[in-house]
């Protein structure tokens, strides 16, 4: 009897397939691995929070999936050309006056209109010294906001500096003044009090907090968020009635939950890249899985690279840096490790970015060129097979985050490639917390540091390339130019580009930045990381953008076609 039972269990385990049906427009459950916090957009700093928030509220402006800045809550994006942005001379000081109009139909979940007073209050909250705002820089750029006394939907912003990127206010989120105004008035003089007493904390299911296609029905930090369709939403009615966001921190369990039908899709904040590759292969081999899931990839904004520490005398020589680049077959690396789903990077600029330039110095894979450059730099092959200069063996050290399988594989690949031309590479990895918190921050790596920079479209890389951003003891190790690259022309270009209102001229300036960058090779570009998602086969209208404005910002375009049986 027992044997029969065990046999039945074994057979059913091996033979049985997943019995769950495709999801329907009644409900979609999305799995994520990243933690989220409360949904006050002025305060939150976690990526998963903005992923969820975009379903419930819209920002004033954002980048669309085609990588263009667009109005979300406003009617027209102000430009110098359309006259809504004007440079005005105020007592000899140039100021930028920008006129905005909010969508006339835009309302909060309680039916109250979204007004200029909401924008003004949000700016005041973000600017307040007692409120911890991760992107305060955006709020500080604005000098004043004047509400049009005749039209509550209109307002004028005055910017302190005349910069071309005044419209890039993606982090200027709007909260309802009729709800958050009294809370802020009560708490603004006390350090940290607003964060604690905001309605997003006290009563997060109040529909008046949200203006997007969905409202928060239930939120349990560390577990899930339930979002129901917002009956007052002014835009296109979303097709899906209910969205459930489920936090499952372990990526393996996340996949098991997908297979078990506990979740219907894995968002771009879920599966790791190598896991997605393996899952895609599984789907490719199994027709049942093909009818249920689709794996999607898109090149993202995360730039994997190697910082050369230019304080190291070996790496201070540009010829050596160029030789190191020539000696690595990065195409092979992308093919071998990523099956070309993640592409080789030429520079820090993404190929879809408006500033992307093809006309830069390229480094083809060639051991001969590499050896020739090294010979010019004084490095010669010794009997040991390694290069030597003044009796010193060519040894470099590389550091990265430990327990990151992909980066560790890249290190081994580099070790092998550089050994072929006589360079010894030693590896010394550290936990992410130590690596970023101490080593990279204080440029304490002796040779090279491999990690990623996160950027956004149309964003000149001042914070990573300007010489003022070199972290030193004097500036308390502030700045992201960890390698210590200093170039006068680059500094000028990165300062002047923000003053240039002609997009074509900016493009030319950024082309020059990229040309100098590839000529001097202060950093070794590796690849652009891809975003991955696993979606139900019947999900239509889903599009991963590849930038910081997640796919959920366009959730009103999603629909699950009728083949699903529903939950």
């Amino acid at each position: 009897m027992l044997k029969k039972l065990l046999l039945t269990l074994l057979v059913s385990t091996v033979v049985s397939t997943n019995g769950h049906a495709l999801p329907s427009n009644k409900q979609l459950t999305i799995g994520i691995t990243q933690e989220f916090e409360n949904l006050n957009p002025i305060i939150f700093s976690m990526s998963a929070s903005s992923y969820i928030y975009f379903m419930a509220s819209h920002p004033l402006v954002a980048i669309d999936p085609d990588w263009k800045w667009q109005c979300w809550l406003c009617t027209t994006l102000p430009t110098i050309e359309n006259g809504l942005a004007k440079i005005i001379d105020e007592k000899g000081v140039k100021k930028l006056h920008v006129s905005w109009e909010l969508k006339p139909t835009a309302v909060w979940g309680d039916g109250q209109p979204v007004t200029a007073e909401d924008v003004k209050l949000s700016w005041e909250i973000g600017l307040n010294a007692n409120v911890s705002t991760p992107s305060k820089d955006i709020y500080e750029r604005i000098e004043s906001i004047a509400v049009d006394p005749k039209d509550p939907k209109k307002f004028t912003m005055v910017f302190k500096e005349v910069r071309y990127d005044y419209y890039q206010l993606g982090s200027l989120y709007i909260v309802p003044a009729h709800i958050e105004g009294p809370v802020f008035a009560k708490t603004k003089t006390q350090q940290g009090a607003y964060e604690k007493q905001t309605t997003f904390n006290i009563n997060p299911t109040n529909p008046a907090l949200y203006n997007g296609p969905y409202i928060v029905k239930e939120i349990k930090l560390g577990s899930h968020v339930i979002l129901d369709r917002n009956p007052k939403y002014y835009g296109k009615k979303p097709a899906i009635d209910r969205i459930i966001m489920k936090l499952i921190p372990n990526t393996q369990t996340l996949e098991s939950n997908l297979m078990a039908g506990s979740i219907d899709m894995i968002s771009e904040l879920g599966m790791s890249f190598d896991q997605a590759l393996a899952f895609e292969k599984r789907v490719g081999k199994d027709k049942t899985l093909q009818s249920k899931y689709a794996v999607q990839y898109i090149d993202g904004m995360i730039y994997e690279h190697i910082d050369f520490n230019l304080r190291n005398p070996i790496l201070a020589d540009a010829k050596v840096r160029k030789a190191l680049l020539h000696a690595v077959d990065r195409d092979k690396l992308c093919e071998a490790l990523f099956e070309n789903r993640q592409k080789k990077a030429l520079t820090m600029i993404h190929p879809r970015d408006i500033y992307y330039a093809e006309n830069v110095t390229k480094y083809e894979y060639s051991q001969e060129i590499a050896l020739k450059l090294l010979e010019e730099a004084g490095w010669k092959k010794a009997s040991s097979g390694f290069l030597e200069k003044d009796g010193q063996k060519f040894t470099l050290n590389i550091m990265t985050t430990s327990q990151n399988k992909t980066r560790e594989l890249v290190e081994v690949f580099l070790q092998d490639q550089w050994k072929k031309i006589g360079i010894e590479l030693t590896i010394n990895n550290e936990p992410a917390r130590v690596f970023f918190g101490e080593t990279v921050k204080k440029a304490a790596y002796p040779g090279m540091a491999m990690y990623a920079w996160v950027s956004s479209p149309d964003n000149p890389p001042r914070s990573t390339l300007h010489s003022k951003e070199i972290p030193t003891l004097e500036n308390s190790w502030n700045g992201q130019n960890s390698g210590g690259w200093s170039n006068k022309r680059i500094d000028d270009l990165l300062v002047n580009i923000f003053k240039e209102f002609d997009a074509q001229k900016r493009k030319v300036m950024m082309e020059e930045v990229q040309k100098i960058y590839t000529d001097e090779v202060p950093v070794m570009p590796l690849y652009m990381r891809a975003d991955v998602a696993v979606i139900p086969a019947n999900l239509k209208g889903f599009k991963m953008p590849g930038h910081q404005f997640h796919s959920t910002l366009n959730i009103d375009t999603w629909s699950l076609d009728g083949s699903g049986q529903g939950h």
């Binding site: 409360n38 911890s132 991760p134 499952i248 098991s256 078990a260 917390r433 130590v434 918190g437």
Partner: protein
């Protein structure tokens, strides 16, 4: 006895205070504050923003100042706010502790019910087929990593057979749509796989331990004397053998109970179980001082109290032990 208990309680408070300071200081010494790392990843975060955020969280002050401020709050019942969630510690920690309590206590009780009788039973039949088979399973249980076992259980019972849910503590979104009985049943269903994971590992260890201690005890002279006196075998086993064998077992079980609030980090993570274990783990890495310190206090207090409890239980089980 009363004086002994009071002395031990005073010692417990002193040890907890010392441990709290050491833990706080060690957390402060950890390199790389997550705030620095988050700011590095945000193109709009300036060094001035970072300083301001640190000031807002009091991180601009020396560790000892921050510790005494925290201690002052703790003593007056103000556990503070979570730096990660920006909510009062009690709002987050208490529901998590309750969930962990369900998981740990169920698993521990189940383990005791299964392990001790099995350990005794197999010790009375050494070198038999049953003994060998049980030993084999016990060794397997001790050797299998909990994350692997958890994943296997998910694959078999959630993905393939679809008998039990793969993760969570309850079915999301059914609030108000199902009866109280169905809610309880749903919670029990969600407990099955994590409890099985935890219990299998504990049972394996305790069976081995109980068996070894029983085998050792049953060889003592007083057991032979009891049998020579003509006492029934059941009395020899349970009154003379088991009672003496249980003394070291009690220590192990008491220490097992001491970790019921600190939870099972791996099991909770794999099953996305909303418990305190993962919360504590994450709070340490996120430098969420208030959250981590509360957890430290609870955990260390539980360990010390369970040690005291085990010591008191010795006196009950072994009349030769007395505390004066």
């Amino acid at each position: 006895m009363t004086a002994y208990i009071i002395r031990r309680l005073i010692q417990t408070i002193i040890v907890v205070l010392l441990l709290s300071f050491v833990s706080y200081a060690l957390m402060g010494l950890m390199p790389g504050d997550p705030l620095d790392i988050a700011c590095q990843a945000n193109p709009h975060c300036t060094p001035e923003n970072l300083d301001q955020m640190k000031k807002a969280l009091g991180l601009d002050q020396p560790v000892y100042v921050r510790y005494f401020k925290w201690l002052q709050g703790f003593m007056t019942g103000d556990l503070g706010y979570s730096r990660t969630y920006r909510l009062p510690i009690t709002d987050i920690l208490i529901p998590r502790l309750i969930n962990t309590l369900y998981l740990s206590v169920t698993s521990l009780v189940l383990s005791i019910i299964i392990a001790i009788p099995l350990g005794v039973f197999t010790s009375l039949r050494p070198n038999t087929k049953f003994d060998y088979t049980l030993n084999m399973f016990a060794f397997a249980g001790i050797s299998i990593p909990s994350f692997w076992l958890a994943l296997m259980l998910i694959i078999i019972f959630a993905v393939k057979l679809q008998i039990f849910p793969a993760s969570g503590i309850e079915t999301i979104g059914l609030e108000g749509e199902i009866s109280t009985f169905e809610i309880v049943w749903d919670r029990i269903n969600h407990l099955v796989l994590p409890v099985t994971t935890l219990s299998l590992l504990t049972v394996a260890f305790w069976v081995r331990y109980t068996r070894a201690k029983m085998l050792e005890t049953m060889r003592f002279d007083y057991i032979r004397t009891a049998r020579a006196k003509g006492l029934p075998e059941s009395r020899v086993i349970y009154m003379h053998g088991l009672r003496n064998a249980l003394i070291p077992v009690v220590t192990v079980i008491a220490l097992g109970f001491s970790s019921i609030f600190s939870g099972a980090v791996i099991t909770e993570t794999v099953f996305a179980y909303l418990g305190a274990g993962k919360l504590i783990f994450d709070s340490i890495f996120a430098n969420d001082y208030n959250m981590a310190m509360c957890s430290f206090i609870i955990t260390s207090f539980m360990v010390l109290m369970m040690n005291l409890f085990a010591d008191l239980l010795y006196a009950y089980l072994d009349p030769r032990i007395s505390y004066t």
